[in-house]
């Protein structure tokens, strides 16, 4: 995995984590409008980043389209990636 791909993958992970955190916060604060706006904005960024990543590097979860040949079996597997 090259540096560019790793960089985009990390960006994706960071956005996913932020979306999850805001999601959990909103579960207990459903009327916090600022948090909700922030959540929607992050989710929008995440959707774009995820789509861009998958178009370039293939699916990161099941139920996503794949280029030819079938990309799911491409290496490295997540646990083989050096994230440092």
């Amino acid at each position: 995995m090259n540096r560019e791909q790793l960089c985009q993958l990390k960006e994706l992970m960071a956005l996913e984590f932020t979306a999850l955190e805001l999601h959990l916060y909103l579960d207990t604060h459903p009327t916090d409008q600022r948090a909700l706006m922030d959540y929607n904005s992050v989710v929008q960024q995440l959707t774009i980043a995820r789509q861009r990543y998958q178009e370039r590097y293939g699916p990161i979860t099941y139920g996503e389209p794949s280029a030819y040949p079938w990309q799911w079996i491409n290496e490295p597997w997540p646990w083989e990636i050096c994230y440092e």
Partner: protein, 48 residues
């Protein structure tokens, strides 16, 4: 030991309600394990 008949009350827990003010940027949040600065309590090395 205290007997149950004493005027002791059972423990009660209180948790203040979190109010969203600011958040860390996504990468900093991911590395710290929270996006909320007010919830960031890293363990520090303990000197004995």
């Amino acid at each position: 030991m205290y007997s149950p008949n004493d005027q002791m009350r059972l423990a009660r827990a209180y948790v203040p309600f979190q109010i969203y003010s600011e958040r860390l940027n996504p990468m900093e949040g991911l590395m710290k394990g929270t996006i909320f600065p007010e919830l960031y309590f890293p363990y520090r090395e303990h000197k004995r």
